[in-house]
Symmetry: C2
Subunit: 319 residues, 2 copies
């Protein structure tokens, strides 16, 4: 009935964080049966701030000497950089459209960062970032994906996969700006692994696949309205491109229907809550079941942050 | 682009299972903030068959010499014993009400067990188990909770918590039949830990709490209609009772509203999909926030198997 040494650290619950959390490997026999491959999930849904983005954000925040960081993000990178700045004692400004989901704005603010809300009809995010950078010349301007530090930060996931003691014939990761897939390739190769890396991209946002086919970076005319909001980037970044161009084993283009079915399959067959972008890799095996059939595949589930109403709607949809 | 040694084990995805999977510890800073305690989740949602029940089932199946096992379960124990029998080459009969969710019947059958469907208006489960045991005198009759082997099997979770390297002021686990909480106490004490164990029980199914208060096993008149279907047992088992009676530090009775809110809090603040019974421990801290305030608490999330429609409805409810 009695307890010892109450610690009262609940009031500073992030105080103990000393870097990214190792990924969570989950073997998923029932999902394997459904997908026709021997699947292991590398879940970044339990990473700090709920997505792999914390790997890059923490690496940026601990690598640059600047006392403050400016970035634009309406998604996972914003939360990740906000927490990373809080842990490293830096000021942080996150430019977000004023139409961003309240829960995302609140999360950025909860980590002590300034959510800089703009009317995107009146001003682009890039322009506002430039303004803030001019106002704060001491600040580092961070990109969510087009930054060598971001790729280096994400490389830690590749090294963890290479050193996991598990053997894979292929690793599949979502591609949006390319920071994750490029980092994975770099990390696997750093650790001496030659395992091929495939990217999974929404079919309606397939600029990376078109870029590979055409041999140069192709840019979407506008932000594609895919359910996988982490892959709504208009193009891959220049830094990731130098790695992806020759480093990817292939890109699997995933229709929206298979992205949603991927969310449901992870829920039903692996008990894993994934955001739609995180389910792209499962969707890839649903969309092209022959591609990696019978192989030992590591599916990277990049994050788990999804609005409950959107998630409930996806679960409730007929297949 | 090329891959080596395709393994084709997707057709036998359970072939590599050699015992229970270690629990998944998840530190949850945002959930900690919400609950006012420093919370670490011990998630059994990624355990084989999606709940802690596999620990007991595997221990039973590998301990008894009988070539077949008979049990009654419409829930997680049925799936767990079915897989455990498949892995150990035993025949398996699971008595289930014919009104059981199709998905649960299918899961039992998918593991190669016989789902023995009965009309519970015409015959009790106990009577049908007795019939089957008479028909199959070579069979071991397994209880989902009132069996020393079940308690021993679940004790492995207590040993894992004790040997995790993490320090806790309290462990909280759901209580239904009592097999999990009794096993946890036994496992923690086996490993030399004196950490107090609290049980979380649905308020409308509070036979264990009433039993502790009255000093003897109290039996619910009928199966209580709690959302936490894993805790719908009419009473704790006699074997668990001998451990729980003096071994529990306390029982927290959780109203239905806090059970549902626990499911939502795990979803929103920890990216964890839990079944309502698995969310009882989170609900306990929501229901009695003062009870373990500021302490280092291990919340056992006992399982993740929940029908998508029920889960979507819980997510969509206003708080």
């Amino acid at each position: 009935m009695t307890t010892t040494e109450p610690t009262n650290i609940a009031t500073r619950p992030h105080a103990g964080i000393r870097g990214p959390r190792p990924t969570t490997f989950i073997e998923a026999p029932r999902l394997s049966e459904r997908l026709g491959a021997h699947v292991t999930l590398a879940a970044e849904t339990f990473q700090h701030t709920g997505s792999f983005k914390f790997r890059a954000a923490y690496h940026v925040a601990t690598s640059v000497p600047h006392p403050s960081i400016v970035t634009a993000s309406s998604g996972n990178f914003g939360q990740a950089i906000a927490l990373a700045c809080r842990l490293t004692g830096k000021r942080c400004f996150v430019v977000m459209p004023e139409t961003s989901a309240r829960v995302k704005v609140d999360a950025v603010r909860a980590y002590g960062a300034t959510a800089d809300l703009i009317d995107t009809r009146a001003m682009t995010r890039e322009a506002r970032v430039a303004e803030l950078a001019a106002e704060h010349p001491e600040a580092y301007v961070a990109s969510a994906y087009d930054d060598l530090l971001v790729i280096e930060g994400n490389a830690s996931l590749g090294r963890e996969i290479a050193r996991s003691g598990l053997t894979f014939d292929a690793v599949v990761a979502p591609v949006g700006g390319g920071g994750l897939s490029a980092g994975l390739i770099q990390g696997l190769r750093d650790a001496g692994s030659t395992t091929p890396v495939f990217a999974a991209e929404p079919l309606i946002a397939n600029d990376a696949a078109r870029s590979i086919r055409e041999g140069h970076i192709v840019i979407n005319e506008q932000e594609p309205p895919t359910l996988a909001d982490g892959a709504r980037t208009r193009s891959v970044g220049r830094h990731p491109w130098t790695i992806l161009q020759n480093g990817l084993a292939g890109i699997i283009e995933v229709p929206e229907r298979e992205i949603a079915e991927g969310v449901r399959a992870l829920f039903t067959l692996a008990n894993l809550k994934a955001e739609p972008t995180g389910a792209l890799t499962t969707g890839a095996l649903l969309a092209e079941p022959g591609r990696l059939a019978g192989q030992r595949v590591c599916l990277v589930v990049s994050g788990g942050n999804v609005d409950p109403a959107i998630y409930a709607r996806i679960l409730s949809e007929a297949v």
